[in-house]
């Protein structure tokens, strides 16, 4: 639960994501998706409830929990005076990644920013900044990943690579939560979906389970249709 004074941003939200699963977090604007992700990543404290990351209680042992997670915000935040490569060096020291060069360079190659390694963030496009944030987040090989609108600002090839990257990491055993308004993307890469409305969960389960609930007997209902039907109903 997350409250701001009298306003409850997220309430009675409970779910679990297992290793290898990709959970799509969807909901209308202001539903509480970003607040949920920020609470899960330990950026803002939850007003109530419990968050467990890879077996570590986030409130009791935040350092151990954070060692296992990575958060990718929708707006890339970078240090103005560090180059791309220096960002990786900084993160490596923070997370104690000894061989960061052997991990970091392939990541830069994977996200096609290796040629920008000595550039400052001010010289990068928004998409490149986003890629750098993702590369930094993946440097310590997190087991739990939270993506908040990860495809914003990426070009079509970048989107394709990002999708592949997420799926590959899930297959390698990472638990992933992904918030996005791009429902066709979620349909492609998510194994599960959770629909939020006005800070409350209105549906969750595998894609098939949620689709079945809102299909009204129709076959092949898209996630977009499910979303519209689900969010059209009053929140419980």
């Amino acid at each position: 639960m997350k409250r701001y004074g009298d306003f409850t941003a997220v309430r009675d939200l409970s779910f679990a994501v297992q290793p290898g699963e990709v959970l799509g977090l969807v909901g209308p604007n202001g539903a509480g998706k970003t607040t949920t992700l920020r609470c899960l990543a330990g950026i803002i404290p939850a007003s109530g409830g419990q968050v467990s990351i890879a077996g570590h209680d986030l409130a009791i042992d935040p350092v151990a929990a954070k060692r296992e997670l990575a958060f990718f915000p929708d707006e890339p935040r970078l240090f103005d005076y560090l180059t791309v490569r220096q960002h990786l060096a900084f993160i490596a020291r923070i997370y104690g990644v000894a061989d960061h060069a052997s991990i970091g360079e392939p990541l830069l190659e994977e996200f096609e920013i290796a040629d920008k390694a000595d550039k400052l963030p001010g010289e990068l496009s928004r998409g490149m900044k986003q890629k750098l944030v993702i590369a930094c987040g993946l440097l310590h090989s997190p087991q739990v990943m939270f993506f908040d609108e990860p495809l914003t600002g990426l070009d079509p090839l970048g989107i394709r690579r990002m999708k592949d990257s997420i799926v590959r990491r899930a297959q390698a055993g990472a638990a992933i939560v992904l918030s996005s308004h791009l429902l066709h993307l979620l349909e492609e890469i998510c194994s599960h979906v959770l629909i939020l409305k006005q800070g409350a969960k209105i549906a969750d389960g595998t894609l098939a389970e949620v689709a079945l609930r809102y299909s009204r007997g129709e076959a092949g209902v898209s996630l977009e249709e499910v979303f519209i039907r689900a969010t059209g109903e009053p929140a419980t």
């Binding site: 701001y4 803002i44 997670l69 935040r77 103005d80 490596a92 020291r93 000595d118 001010g122």
Partner: protein, 588 residues
């Protein structure tokens, strides 16, 4: 058009006040607001009811007399800077939202110019009101206050219009592909000639220079300079500046009435000049707005106001190993920004603030030294270093902001790191501690040499060396203690911290003063135990273990006390950092 402008300003102000008022529901902001009200009442409004003046009226006040000369000097400096250092963008001021809505709107170029200039006037008027309140002069009657506000506004508006015109003219040259450097050199040459002419005229006009000694030195000098610039050839050379500053400098209603028409004429001429300048300002305005948005974002994030936005990678301060304490990574990261903060602009402002004080004290000290047989060079070095050291101690923590304050925008990122809060706080503070300590060590060394060379006092060499070493040991923890306070304030009042960094005007001056005052008080309280302990210990042990041993014992004691305070402070700030919920704090 004007109706739309008025609607925009009034509604924006209304909503701003509303959101600030809502925040007062939180006790810590309510207490802060009460502090602001008290400050304004005690230091500003209370004066308005007290019709007396310590100097017995304007005629004898050296600060008012000197201020008149200072205003002329500043006006000349501002006008000169406008032509020698014109804006690289050359546009009119528009907010990003104004650009988005007004540039595609069916408005003429002239209407946009009017919109920009009129919008600037509202801000200037508000600034004038505050300047009149803070730096107004007696008598503090309603009519006089009105005059002061009008005087400030005419002065500021004329300066702003002059700068805008210079920028637009340079923008036109840029459009034509002219060589801008040669034009700036030409401008600098004209300024130099003008300054030389004024200097020569002043020199020739000066009958007898007053003796720089005695209790009334300031008053004598201020009156002398004031008479000098207002008579003979200097008065003619300075005429445009004197006319623009006329209403500001006028004494009494009659003089104000006489000074108003020529000043308004100059202002109107500047306005017409800008409106008639046929220069495309759209691109420049967009660049200006972007730059301003970047600067506001940087300021909100806590960066130094002097920091430049550069796209050139900087040299690594040291090689960062992937293994080791994470605090080292913060030190490494934050030291990158130092070369951006220490630029020519920064050095210019520091020089403007420090050099006059050092110069005045040097003159006074040299005069005194000659009479008492003390080595003047030694005393100047010692005095200058001590004054600079005091500046660094006083202002350093406000200027060296390569800590949590410059990472406010990245708090979300920092909170995802697998580190306890105290480690983040400590790591963030290391860079400014290193910077300030380095500076203070150099000054300490210079002061020590200066005192030694000047033969002031009768302190034996070993004792002086011990005192210097002791002070050098105490420098980093004292700097850390000083830096704890602004970082604590940032963590306790993030919304206030951001508000005071986001608005360039002086309307947040009260909040800043509360911060500065709070910092001073807090540092004094934190240093008090060590300050009391050091002399007591030296006095109590010197007879037993000698002065050198006593100084060392006192140093160790002070280190223990300050170290304990630091440990507690950093641990507490770490707890606060872990609990910080910026999204809740910054909600309007």
């Amino acid at each position: 058009m004007l109706g739309a402008l008025l609607y925009l300003r009034v509604r924006s102000l209304q909503n701003l006040l509303l959101s600030r008022t809502r925040r007062l529901r939180e006790p810590k902001y309510l207490i802060g607001a009460i502090g602001t009200v008290f400050y304004f009442y005690y230091f500003v409004f209370r004066r308005l009811t007290a019709a007396h003046n310590a100097f017995g009226g304007r005629g004898g006040n050296p600060f008012v007399l000197g201020g008149s000369v200072l205003i002329l000097v500043l006006s000349i400096g501002y006008a000169a800077a406008a032509w020698i250092f014109p804006s690289a963008k050359g546009g009119l001021r528009f907010a990003p939202a104004e650009i988005a809505f007004l540039f595609p709107a069916p408005l003429t170029r002239r209407e946009l110019v009017h919109f920009s200039l009129a919008g600037t006037q509202m801000k200037l008027l508000f600034s004038s009101l505050l300047l009149a309140l803070f730096w107004g002069r007696p008598p503090f009657t309603a009519a006089a206050m009105l005059q002061h506000v009008a005087g400030w506004w005419i002065l500021l508006a004329t300066a702003e219009f002059h700068r805008t015109a210079a920028n637009l003219i340079f923008a036109r040259h840029r459009e034509r592909g002219d060589d801008l450097a040669s034009r700036r050199i030409l401008a600098a040459g004209i300024v130099a000639l003008f300054v030389a002419a004024v200097g020569a005229a002043l020199w020739r006009a000066a009958p007898v220079w007053p003796a720089p000694a005695g209790a009334a030195t300031l008053q004598v000098w201020a009156s002398f300079l004031n008479r000098l610039v207002n008579s003979g050839p200097p008065s003619w050379l300075l005429l445009p500046f004197r006319l623009a500053a006329g209403p500001f400098l006028a004494e009494g209603g009659r003089a104000f009435g006489a000074a108003l028409p020529p000043a308004l004429l100059i202002l109107a001429a500047h306005y017409a000049w800008i409106v008639r300048l046929d220069v495309s300002f759209a691109e420049g305005s967009i660049s200006l707005a972007e730059k301003r948005a970047q600067r506001v974002a940087a300021l909100q994030a806590g960066a130094s106001p002097f920091a430049s936005v550069s796209l050139r990678p900087r040299r690594e301060p040291f090689r960062l190993s992937p293994q080791g304490r994470p605090e080292g990574a913060f030190l490494w990261k934050n030291l990158f920004s130092v070369s951006g903060a220490v630029n020519w602009r920064f050095l210019f402002f520091v020089g403007m603030a420090v050099l006059p004080v050092v110069a005045v004290f040097s003159v006074l000290l040299t005069g005194s030294a000659r009479h008492s047989g003390i080595n003047p060079l030694g005393i100047i070095v010692a005095g200058g270093s001590s004054i600079l050291g005091a500046y660094v101690l006083l202002l350093g923590p406000q200027l060296a902001r390569q800590d949590l304050r410059s990472d406010l925008a990245n708090v979300d990122l920092l909170k995802t790191y697998p580190l306890p809060g105290w480690q983040v706080v400590l790591g963030e503070m290391l860079a400014p501690i290193a910077i300030l300590s380095g500076l203070l060590w150099v000054l300490l060394l210079a002061a020590s040499w200066g005192f030694s060379a000047s033969h002031v006092g009768d302190i034996p060499g070993p004792a002086r060396l011990a005192a210097t070493l002791g002070a050098a040991c105490l420098v980093p923890p004292v700097c850390a203690l000083e830096l704890l306070v602004p970082n604590a304030m940032m963590l306790l009042f993030p919304a206030w911290h951001q508000a005071t960094r986001s608005r360039g005007g002086i309307d947040t001056i009260g909040q800043r003063m509360i911060f500065t005052f709070g910092q001073l008080i807090s540092v004094v309280i934190l240093l008090l135990p060590s300050v009391l302990a050091v002399p007591v210990l030296i006095f109590a042990t010197a007879w037993l273990i000698g002065p050198v041993g006593a100084v060392l014992v006192a140093t160790v004691a002070a280190l223990v006390i300050i170290g304990f305070e630091l440990l507690c402070g950093i641990w507490w700030l770490g707890q606060r950092f872990e609990r910080l919920d910026l999204s809740a704090e910054l909600r309007p």
